[in-house]
């Protein structure tokens, strides 16, 4: 209140200290390590804090101690059906330990991701969380130099340096083929998303190709030109089924495409899985409500957020989170067999 600079107009440690008749560092200790402050002073300080409505300024604290309690996360998108659960569980776990989440979305653009990372690093977050293994060169450089823990989620690439929390998209592709092949299907097609942004989907396609080849079957990849997932699905179904040797089964890059394909097919009088088996990825909320309900693979979205948070908290030495830090965290996907395949 006395300086020539105005400040926030809120009570500071110094105000509290003065009112309680102690030094400001004691107030600081009262919050950080209450056990080393005597009961008498604790009471006086508590009273002063209350009287002044004191709230610690985390920006100042972080600056002085060089470790703030915010964690930054860049995710492709928030509103989609995929990542929301990861964000939710990640955020909850952090909040539980007094950390706050700084969030931005990249829309599957590595340039936007780099922008976000650059902006975040300016806050010196306690940790940085990215999605997938695919980044721009600039991002790679930034994270290589970063001093805080970095975690990559939704992918699992043991060769990479950052902590990995996710699963192998290639294996998901193989697993899909395996399931359909086990049911006797031979002419199995794969429908990619036209959006070149989601690079992990290409890994699933590669897994599909590999496993098909191992079975001596010919891979058959269709790339829609439409961006809208429902339109793209329609395009795929029309192209793959309205021919002399139609596909017996179709693996779609995600449930949105699969749903679009099924709806389009149904309107054209096709029946699933009688005319063609349909296989998705993602287990979106609507997938079990479709008619027929969609056979798909559920990625461990919630678990990814949880484990990523735990690894970070461990690395930061949060006492309440026991166990050693684990750099590689391979989580399980669950194949959900429903009516469509």
């Amino acid at each position: 209140m006395s300086g020539k600079r105005k400040g926030l107009g809120r009570a500071t440690v110094h105000d509290v200290a003065k009112l309680a008749g102690v030094s400001s560092i004691t107030v600081s200790r009262y919050f950080k390590q209450p056990d080393i402050v005597s009961q008498a002073l604790r009471d006086r300080i508590a009273e002063a804090v209350n009287a002044l409505d004191y709230l610690p300024n985390h920006a100042a604290g972080g600056l002085a101690s060089t470790r703030g309690r915010i964690v930054a996360m860049v995710i492709p998108n928030i509103s989609g059906p995929i990542f929301a659960n990861t964000i939710q569980s990640f955020s909850d776990e952090l909040n539980r330990h007094g950390y706050q989440l700084l969030l931005a979305s990249s829309y599957f653009s590595v340039e936007k991701e780099e922008d976000a990372v650059r902006a975040f690093l300016g806050w010196s977050p306690a940790a940085l969380v990215l999605t997938s293994q695919y980044h721009s060169e600039g991002t790679e450089r930034l994270i290589a130099k970063a001093t805080m823990p970095v975690v990559e989620t939704w992918d699992y690439v043991p060769e990479r340096k950052p902590v990995q929390v996710g699963f192998s998209h290639v294996d998901v592709g193989r697993q899909s083929v395996e399931y359909l092949h086990g049911k006797g299907y031979k002419r199995i097609a794969f429908v990619q998303n036209s959006l070149i942004g989601d690079l992990s989907a290409l890994d699933r396609r590669d897994g599909y190709i590999a496993r098909m080849t191992e079975h001596g079957l010919e891979p058959w990849v269709f790339v829609p030109t439409q961006a809208d997932p429902f339109e793209a699905g329609r395009q795929a179904v029309n192209s793959l089924l309205l021919r002399k040797q139609p596909a017996e089964a179709i693996i779609f890059a995600n449930d949105n495409l699969a749903a679009g394909g099924m709806l389009a097919g149904a309107r054209a009088g096709m029946r699933f899985p009688e005319d063609c088996a349909i296989f998705g990825f993602g287990n979106y909320a609507f997938s079990e409500m479709l008619l027929p309900s969609l056979t798909t693979i559920r990625p461990p979205a919630r678990e990814i957020g949880e484990v990523a948070a735990l690894r970070i908290l461990q690395t930061l030495g949060e006492a309440s989170v026991e166990g050693p830090v684990q750099r590689l965290n391979l989580l399980d996907c669950e194949l959900i067999a429903r009516e469509s395949a």
Copy 2:
């Protein structure tokens, strides 16, 4: 590098200044108001910034200038189908102007909300965004004293002091009745959610009651005891339709309940809307894919995030966002008539 305290080990304004042969404030100005720095110095500074990989420390900047560039938002949940779009558009609009989003979820608990607000205020965010008009007393006290702009979203209560960006839940309730009444239905029931947390749903119920009464019809509110939305929906359908004078139409508090009710009814051999008209709220992603597709009301989720961000940016005086600040922002809901009613 010289002090006895370690710092982050990253380059600072001072390092850049030394290398460029200028004073540190000039480097600061180079970032904040480049136009008042001469071209010659700008070039030298740019070079130094590059050579040192300098990244401004926003925490320090915010502390010194008493206005940081983060905005805090508390939302009931991230992963649900409702708020994700609001978060997404809000975050995008902020990022576009160099602000970052700090996010936490309350799970419809006013106590959790208060915790989050308290934690956020410690970061002295440039603005604070809450959901709905219902808060704890503690939260009310905190926002009354807050010095930064506060915005309430997903509701519209002109009497309240904070900036309002949303719609009237009471009106939504009335509008639902109006639509069904216009179709000739008389015995119209309302199914509330058992979760007492979502207080706005009660406003929709009140609107339903008011409009029914105005039409001389008797309100009929059913409160499920089951927490799971699908189970609750089943419970409601059983209770409202398996009786001598069954409901002719049911308004559900949200699309989840409505979907649960329809699936349960379909399994029991009922047909919609022949046996009963079904009306939801929320326009969730799956609603148009149900069989029959669900008649519902689409809340302006994306618009809320956008407008909230714009109002905040205007209040903060972001030059690039023109127009006066508007305290009341009533956005339109859209009634989507589909097959179920």
